[in-house]
């Protein structure tokens, strides 16, 4: 078998060599195709470095400012961008490096690309993003009493690295290797839930996912195959702890006793891995037929060790049993085989007609099992141990078939019509339903598709896209059911200095099932303009008006009485940027830009968010520019006025370029 596979792997190499030889024309001109395209007079390095200092002044709620903006004060490497072209092409032909926002900003990025023609292409991408999330209004049941316990808040950093190396041993066969790491680490405040009461406690999170993959692309004139094999490993450690007297969210006496938590040590040790495979192909066996397909398979699995030790004055609500300590141990494993396949083709039977057919299936079956043991420690009493088996299932089968016919009515007008059928089923262990049964649901949806693309002139085009769906079964009450979706976009280049674009989108969904009566309507209208009235002035402007209306019936959980959930979001969003070239000297032209964006919404969460800005760049010398930028952030919420903030940011520095 190994010999056969080795032979199979070697065959493309042989075929490739033959194809290359066949492709050579009998007499090529004497020019040197490998000659450097870079004239020797050009510098070997070009690029720029942007250094500066940011001053900040904030008022209002600083925690919300950090949750929304989080730009701090201090010196910064705002940007670095350079390209090295090696005229001798030793290790690389060219090397590009881009870096942004280093030196304390919450969003650090770095990208490196190196390549050598006919040898390799290497890409490295790194991001370090700080997430700060502390919103007093989000999860603080005691907020009304003036107590802010900052529950469900966190401060963490996520670091993501990606390496990919593509090799070019030949023109047809491209092996590649890639590695990616995504890790997060931070602290926060989470809730330890015990019957009747919840206790805000400190938390520490660390998780890391490594992703290894390798594959080969076989690219021929009439077909292509990509085969990839990969795997991931996961480590996720979470801890929650507390060693103070904690009265939690419910500080009212319960049956005459005050509940508290004195000590907590809770930890999750989660380990996971996954093997995955990808097989992709495209082919055009005939000039009138393109075919493509893919087969994707993954099987992630996890295992968890859970330990919990807590003490205090706690209660088991069902038995109204007060206890002083608890020890819980849990172990579980889960796996999720997941298979996806698709097949599609584009058929061009006659010149003006294209038929696009696609089919896909997605099948995911999750199963998990484990054991959870809970030991209740009571004063002057025996230990009460409750073992519970953990067992669950989630099976999802999703299928979709779609056909579109595109007709070029004229050179300027293309009409499209189509049909999509979506069907599937899902089963889940009825975790939240009484008893050990299962819930199941089906999906049956028929969608009519239509569209038009009208290119009246090169300066005027219009695109319309419409879907109308009828559904007999949906997975959830809130899923799309009977809906109409429409998008329209028009572009008009009025003059060489003025271009307009308008777009409109609509989603209207109804689920008339008694007890649900879901009505959802979302509209977005936007208009943008780019105007360059003179060589020294350019103006960009955009305005978007969006509205969303959602009505759905639900049951009050306590008495199961029907209620209506209303959600409204009506927003105006505008942004503009005016760029002025100021009178210069010795070909050095200072520039002034100003504008910004505003967001004003009303409805269920009325909010205003202003972000005006102004920039001034003054060239001091060839390759040296002094830049300054002022930004203002103003955030206000009508219902949570205490969360508003205002921030002035002034950033100044120099850009050195070559």
């Amino acid at each position: 078998m190994k010999l056969a596979l080795a032979l199979l792997a070697a065959m493309p190499l042989l075929a490739q060599t033959a194809a290359q030889q066949a492709a050579q024309p009998p007499a090529a001109p004497a020019s040197d195709p490998a000659a450097s395209p870079t004239p020797s007079a050009e510098p070997w390095i070009t690029g720029s470095i942007d250094l500066g200092y940011r001053f900040t002044s904030t008022g209002g709620d600083n925690d919300v400012y950090r949750s929304v903006v989080n730009l701090g004060q201090g010196p910064r490497l705002l940007g670095l961008d350079f390209t090295i072209v090696d005229p001798k092409k030793r290790l690389f032909d060219h090397l590009d490096v881009r870096a942004n926002n280093w030196g304390g900003d919450p969003y650090n990025t770095l990208h490196l690309n190196a390549s050598k023609k006919g040898m390799y292409d290497f890409n490295f991408d790194y991001r370090d993003i700080a997430y700060f999330n502390l919103l007093p209004s989000f999860a603080d049941p005691l907020l009304g009493t003036g107590l802010v316990l900052d529950e469900d808040s966190y401060f963490s950093r996520r670091r993501m690295s990606d390496f990919q190396l593509d090799l070019f041993p030949g023109h047809r066969i491209i092996p590649y290797l890639a590695y990616g790491r995504d890790s997060g680490q931070g602290t926060g405040i989470t809730t330890f839930e015990s019957d009747v009461n919840q206790y805000p406690v400190a938390a520490h999170m660390f998780d890391k996912t490594d992703n290894y993959r390798g594959g080969v692309r076989l690219e021929f004139n009439r077909w292509h195959i990509t085969l990839e094999q990969g795997g991931t490993t996961l480590r996720d450690d979470q801890q929650a702890y507390d060693s103070t007297v904690n009265y939690g969210n419910n500080y009212q006496p319960y049956f005459g006793q005050t509940l508290d938590l004195n000590n907590l040590a809770q930890s999750y040790g989660i380990r996971g891995s996954s093997i995955y495979s990808r097989g992709l192909f495209t082919a055009n066996p005939f000039s009138w037929l393109d075919v493509s397909g893919q087969f994707l398979y993954s099987i992630p699995n996890t295992s968890v060790n859970y330990t919990q030790l807590d003490s205090g004055n706690l209660v088991l609500q069902q038995a109204i049993l007060f206890y002083t300590g608890e020890q819980a141990l849990g172990f579980a494993v889960g796996k999720q085989p997941h298979t996806t396949g698709s097949l599609g083709f584009e058929l061009r039977p006659v010149k003006r007609v294209r038929v696009i057919e696609s089919w896909m299936t997605d099948r995911m079956h999750t199963s998990a099992a484990g054991l959870f043991t809970d030991m209740i420690l009571q004063p002057l009493s025996a230990v009460q141990t409750t073992p519970t088996t953990l067992d669950s299932l989630l099976a999802v089968n999703y299928n979709q078939e779609q056909v579109d016919v595109l007709l070029d009515v004229t050179h300027k007008l293309t009409l499209r019509g189509g049909y999509r059928y979506v069907w599937g089923d899902a089963q889940t262990g009825a975790a939240l339903v009484a008893g050990p049964g299962q819930e199941s649901s089906e999906l049956r949806q028929q969608v009519g598709l239509a569209g038009a693309n009208f290119r009246a002139t090169q300066k005027l085009s219009l695109n319309v896209d419409f879907e109308d769906a009828s559904t007999s079964h949906a997975y959830f009450r809130t899923s799309l059911y009977n809906y109409q979706k429409m998008r329209a976009r028009a572009r008009y280049q009025i003059a060489s200095t003025l271009a307009l674009q308008a777009s409109f989108s609509l989603l209207n969904n109804q689920n008339p099932t008694p007890g649900i009566n879901y009505n959802f309507l979302s509209r977005q209208n936007s208009l943008s303009a780019a105007w360059t009235p003179s060589k020294r002035v350019s103006i960009l402007g955009e305005y978007t008006r969006s509205t969303m209306r959602s009505n759905i019936n639900y049951l009050d959980p306590e008495f199961l009485t029907p209620e209506l959930s209303l959600y409204r979001d009506n927003a105006h969003n505008a942004s503009a940027l005016v760029d002025l070239a100021l009178p210069g000297y010795a070909k050095l032209v200072p520039r002034l830009s100003f504008g910004g964006s505003l967001f004003i919404s009303s409805g269920s969460r009325p909010t205003t968010y202003y972000q005006p800005l102004a920039r001034l760049s003054i060239p001091l010398h060839k390759g040296l520019v002094w830049k300054s930028e002022y930004r203002y952030y103003g955030y206000d919420e009508t219902f949570y006025a205490y969360e508003g903030f205002r921030a002035h940011l002034l950033q100044t520095g120099v850009t050195i370029s070559r």
Partner: protein, 317 residues
């Protein structure tokens, strides 16, 4: 076992490779047609009139069309897209040359796909919204672009600007307070979407073969969990989050968490087998949760493992 299947797949596809024809070569002009039909004149003929483009092209990745023999357009890269140029070279009339920018998008794309069709980036092309709506390759790619960074925007800000030039309403969502950090330059649209198309909805990027691209950065939420929260798997993160931006904290789709939960979890409990096909998933038994009490107004205070739990079926820990 699986590797055997792949081997078999490769074997099945081999005949296609065997029938791979020689690369597209310019068709020789028959003598009878020579008087009227234009012929190929080579890229250097284009240089005197189109010097800027010619010079820029020397550093473009497309330059290899001029230099690679196997593609069959050696020294004729300009004409590989614009067609034979002898007539235009003689007359200087733009009507005498093919200008892909003036063609219908599908026609222009055929030009690009002559070389680029059989590449992995085009796996999902025919299913993509861009293809169905006839967004041409040249809407994003500048064919003559100078410089080593390719034919399309690479810098994060430039990518976002390019996408936002059409998707203005989507970009407006990123001006809301709670959003993914695109305007700040931490991410770009193509981190989440594949503009060429994808097997996932909204051309979303896939991760680890067929997982939603969200898990590339949020790997700790990937699971599988012992107790899954079904919407995460069935409808994706967008069941609860507005990934482009929202006025609601955590990019949630509702202003208050309880409504987000209760809109789904409002089915009456169904006894096993009582109803063959209940109307939807998400049934809940009655719970003594007084929604007037602040304690119960944010479900995630107690049901904190809302993305899935490893040890608790009620997602409490």
């Amino acid at each position: 076992m699986f590797s055997n299947r792949l081997a078999a797949l490769a074997l099945l596809c081999w005949p296609l490779g065997a029938q791979t024809p020689a690369p597209v070569t310019p068709v020789p002009v028959a003598p009878a047609q020579a008087a009227t039909a234009p012929s190929y004149v080579g890229s250097e003929t284009c240089q005197p009139c189109h010097e800027d483009i010619y010079n820029a092209f020397q550093k473009s990745p497309h330059k290899l069309v001029d230099t690679q023999k196997r593609r069959g357009w050696e020294a004729k890269a300009c004409e590989s897209c614009h067609g034979p140029g002898s007539k235009h070279a003689g007359s200087g009339d733009k009507a005498d040359i093919v200008n892909p920018a003036r063609l219908a998008p599908a026609e222009a794309d055929r030009d690009c796909l002559k070389c680029h069709l059989n590449q992995p980036t085009h796996i999902g092309r025919i299913q993509s919204g861009h293809a169905r709506n006839e967004v041409s390759c040249t809407a994003c790619h500048s064919v003559h672009r100078n410089g080593p960074n390719g034919l399309v925007a690479r810098k994060i800000a430039a990518v976002n600007e390019l996408c936002a030039s059409c998707h203005t309403a989507v970009w407006a969502e990123f001006q809301r307070p709670y959003k993914h950090r695109l305007p700040e330059g931490a991410m770009s649209c193509v981190d989440c979407h594949n503009p060429h198309g994808s097997i996932l909805r909204a051309s979303a990027q896939a991760y680890a073969a067929n997982e939603p691209g969200c898990f590339k950065c949020h790997g700790n939420l990937r699971g599988p969990f012992t107790f899954e929260h079904a919407p995460v798997r069935l409808e994706g993160c967008a069941a609860c989050h507005e990934p482009h931006g929202s006025a609601n904290p955590r990019m949630l789709a509702r202003a208050e968490v309880r409504y987000l939960c209760l809109e789904c979890h409002a089915n009456l409990p169904t006894a096993p087998g009582a109803i063959k096909n209940p109307p939807a998933l998400g049934g809940v038994p009655p719970a003594f949760h007084d929604l007037f009490s602040p304690q119960f107004q944010n479900c995630t205070v107690c049901h904190m493992k809302v993305h899935g739990s490893y040890v608790n079926q009620d997602l409490l820990r």
